[in-house]
Symmetry: C2
């Protein structure tokens, strides 16, 4: 039973929080009961995403510093594109963030992204919801904006910052395109690098033809430049987007329901059936799936 | 009815093939009947994946040139990380490949990756299966290896080439980690760039600690260097991995069944239900999902 830990989490007990996150990660028995008992919370979740190398970690670092000066308590979730093969590849980034790891008003948790349906972490929604029950003022979720993770981050976060930097290859440009649609705020970081003025001009024209008005904030995160403006913009935007909630909840519910339905599909069983039918020599996967779906599953 | 087009496709009629691909893309009525009628085919599907900027398109270009010299017929599927916002962002890459676009023995099709469950294209499996019915010797599928797409490409392809290049940032290194596990062959491209020797050494050590033996082929695709070695390695590997089929089919079946099950989840309906229950003030999404799954869906 994890339920008895809820009051401690609500009072800011980090050990209780960290332990319960681990149990949720492992889908330990009782974790669903804990989640079902969570009260409604309005703690804003801020997603920070963008292509590799634009300085997302430095930005999270700088944002945290500014929030701490405002006496805020901060939780940071970092979604690492790691793998069993090469653990620790992102150590450099993590150490940069960990400047705040010992601060009493900061809680940092790193999650590996592997094995998820859509690119983030299979329990990211649940873990964020648990964090919302603890007395944090902001929850920052940092993720590399690649593949489907951009859509997940948009349904997870109340406010999504898309971080870009001047200049980058063709394919990274194209990845940005998907991020355009989910951005509530653009952060152009490293504006001290060459081509910065032209890049912002191009971004502005691209946005001009888009469907929604999105502000651009210019920063040099490693030097704390533009971070005050950014926190102000975040606070202003958070006040105006309370109505995003039902859409986000629909996305969340959809993903949770999907996860429930996926449990019913037994891959082992599929493999056995396919293996048994293949020797006939005319195996067709579309006929197989039609039969499977029409049978009692 | 698309079924009458099947004989034309099998005889190499490109217009019939292209038209049917479009209809499959749009899930036109009759496309499932066509898929259910497809005969068993052994045409090898070669996946080419890797981080942005490593030269995957140049490699596909060079491979195609070498296969054509061997009198082979080639189909190329390019999965573009494009978006409604910024169509055409990858034009540069496409033009490089399109050196072969007018060649009678090459068929090139570009698919946008948006909206897919896992990062590739929602109908990529079906389209590849249709291509396998046409008289091609090889089907090349090129995709940016990001997010979940690496897992999909592994279940789609009979042989997966992971393309890397010497030197790149921390995060790109980490993305590679996921690709390590799916590689049947590594291609280190741009070996004329600095740090090449050290990079290959590092990759070899990383592989040494891995679970499977994977060869490394060095290329400079833009100058056709190493491409002969690569095609030879591809042919050797293809002969030895015929037994991959049932695992791949299980993954395919899983995804097709999942897509069938996803149709049953009506987002509009979810949104209405959530919207109706929220004013009560104690909305909890885990209780909501539990109720939804236990109801008759």
């Amino acid at each position: 039973m994890l339920l008895p830990f809820l009051p401690a989490i609500q009072q800011g007990n980090i050990k209780a929080l960290a332990g319960c996150i681990t149990l949720i990660e492992n889908q330990a028995s009782g974790s669903l009961d804990l989640l079902k008992a969570l009260p409604v919370s309005k703690t804003p979740v801020i997603g920070i995403t963008g292509p590799p190398g634009v300085g997302k970690s430095s930005l999270v670092n700088a944002l945290t510093g500014t929030f701490l000066k405002q006496q805020k308590k901060i939780a940071i979730l970092c979604i690492d594109p790691s793998s069993p093969f090469h653990r620790g590849a992102l150590l450099g980034d993590r150490i940069r963030i960990n400047q705040w790891a010992q601060h009493p008003d900061v809680y940092i948790r790193s999650l590996a992204s592997r094995g998820s349906l859509g690119g983030l972490h299979p329990r990211i929604f649940e873990i964020t919801d648990l964090l919302k029950a603890a007395p944090f003022d902001y929850i920052l979720v940092e993720t590399v904006g690649i593949g489907q993770s951009e859509l997940e981050i948009a349904s997870l976060a109340d406010l999504t910052l898309v971080v870009l930097m001047p200049g980058s290859g063709d394919e990274i440009q194209a990845m940005k395109a998907g991020m355009m649609e989910i951005a509530d705020l653009f952060v152009v970081n490293k504006t001290d690098s060459p081509g910065s003025k032209q890049f912002i001009k191009d971004l502005q024209s691209a946005l001009y033809f888009g469907t929604k008005k999105t502000d651009i904030i210019e920063t040099v995160a490693t030097e704390d430049k533009g971070i005050g403006l950014l926190t102000a913009a975040i606070e202003t935007r958070l006040q105006s987007i309370a109505q995003k909630e039902p859409q986000n909840l629909t996305e969340k519910a959809y993903r949770l329901i999907l996860a429930g339905k996926m449990k019913e599909i037994d891959k082992e069983d599929l493999f056995k059936k396919i293996h048994a039918q293949m020797p006939a020599g005319d195996f067709n996967i579309y006929r197989f799936v039609e039969n499977y779906l029409s049978a009692d599953h």
